[in-house]
């Protein structure tokens, strides 16, 4: 399954009917070592683009937006357990933030694929 990206550096990957969401490798590198993160609890619903989570480095606090609309079904226990190193170590794998049940899968089509995101990042 392809990974899609937002301009705000979130990624989203469908696993069956469920979307796995996190922040991109580029975002994690820009942020630096994560010293705090706050994830939404299962059951919370978000519209596309809404503030969904917060991730903070020593340098700054960043909002993480819902890349697509839906309801949270799971937050990553490694992150809620304060093992934030995993966000820097594996931003696009074990460092995922939440799993979400999409309410409109069509929103995925508006996001960038890997190649388009790589070009986008190159231009920053």
């Amino acid at each position: 399954m392809t990974t899609r990206y937002t301009k705000d550096h979130e990624w989203v990957r469908m696993e069956g009917d469920i979307a796995v969401i996190g922040i991109s490798k580029y975002a994690a590198e820009q942020l630096g070592d994560v010293v705090y993160a706050e994830l939404p609890a299962a059951g919370a619903s978000f519209a596309q683009g809404a503030d969904m989570a917060v991730v903070e480095s020593a340098k700054t606090a960043s909002d993480v937006y819902a890349p697509i609309s839906g309801e949270i079904v799971e937050a990553n226990a490694a992150i809620t357990g304060e093992n934030w190193e995993i966000i820097n170590a594996e931003p696009e794998a074990g460092g995922w933030f939440v799993k979400l049940k999409p309410s409109n899968k069509g929103e995925l089509d508006g996001l960038m694929d890997e190649a388009a995101y790589a070009d986008y990042v190159k231009g920053l």
């Binding site: 630096g32 070592d33 010293v35 705090y36 706050e38 903070e56 480095s57 020593a58 340098k59 606090a61």
Partner: protein, 386 residues
Amino acid sequence: MAEAATPKKLPLDALWRARTSKFGDFAGYDMPLQFEGLIPEHNWTRQHAGLFDVSHMGPSFFALPKGHGLEGDAAHKQVASLIERLVPADVQGLKPGQVRYTMITNSDGGVLDDLMIARPVEPGAAGDLYIVVNAGCKHQDWALIEEATKGEANLVRADDRCLLALQGPSAHKVAAEIIDPALADMSFMTVKRYDAFGRITVTRSGYTGEDGYEILVRAENATELAEKLLAHPEVKPIGLGARDSLRLEAGLCLYGHDLDPTTSPIEADLAWTIQKRRREAKDFPGAKRILREYELGADRKRVGIRPNDRAPAREGVEIYKDGKQIGIVTSGGFSPVLNGPISMGYVQSAHAEPGHVVDLMIRGTPRSATIVPLPFVPHQYVRKGK
């Protein structure tokens, strides 16, 4: 106090760009923000030595006009009395070679900038002061100084030179090896000129809580000095990001955040910077309010704050007690040494005692925090007995 829209390049721009691409505009200068990472840079400075480029700041020499005819203490007293029109410190009382931290205050007792004033130790420089002000305030400060002392003294800007800060427990060893062995014998908060790398002005001082030096060097000699320092195995380049976390751990104020024109030195817990002679003379801008607060206490006070969980409380976070707002965070972030969040802010004096538990309103949720003494991490200044 924003400067020109296009940020100026540092004289050592190329040297830093060879080592990092992470730059950002600060006070009108394009500054290196980060090299290997904020936390490793921070820890390296606490354990070894970090080299910071602070050439954006405002070094200057303030001097009696040529042919003033005064010598030694008489010349110093004369030039010091001029600058005392703007600051509450006892500048006249500076010993040769001594540096003092002070503030330019306004007539309401607020702080227009914080700065360092040094009395040169060299007899030939009697009647000179070396003054370093903040980057974002330098044009304002210099205009104020010139206006208040017109015709009586001259202000010579030195911000075309480089100001390099070498900070950390290895700084004295590195400075002795690369600049002059005599640097190791300087006491903290003293100044001396050296014939090395052209002619440099060195203060043993800094804004990280560590021992170290701030070195004013001409731009044409700065590359050689910086490269020699960086080639030392104990030295790494440090960006503006770690400079901020280091000064926060050290409990030091950042102008425009922890100090501003409404904040008095007493509220900022900087009463120690106003020496007895000036308190008795009551002759500095804002003396009425500042001395009233000195005697009776201020309504609010700058304090250290330790959040009781892991969420950092940054500038602008409101501080509550029993559902009522009692203060605001003015600086906040993450302490690499304590491995947790730390903040500074102002609270009503009734809640300023260490140990008081307050709430920080972070993204709409109150979170428990405790008032703590400053600094968060002990200072390591080296004072030499005479």
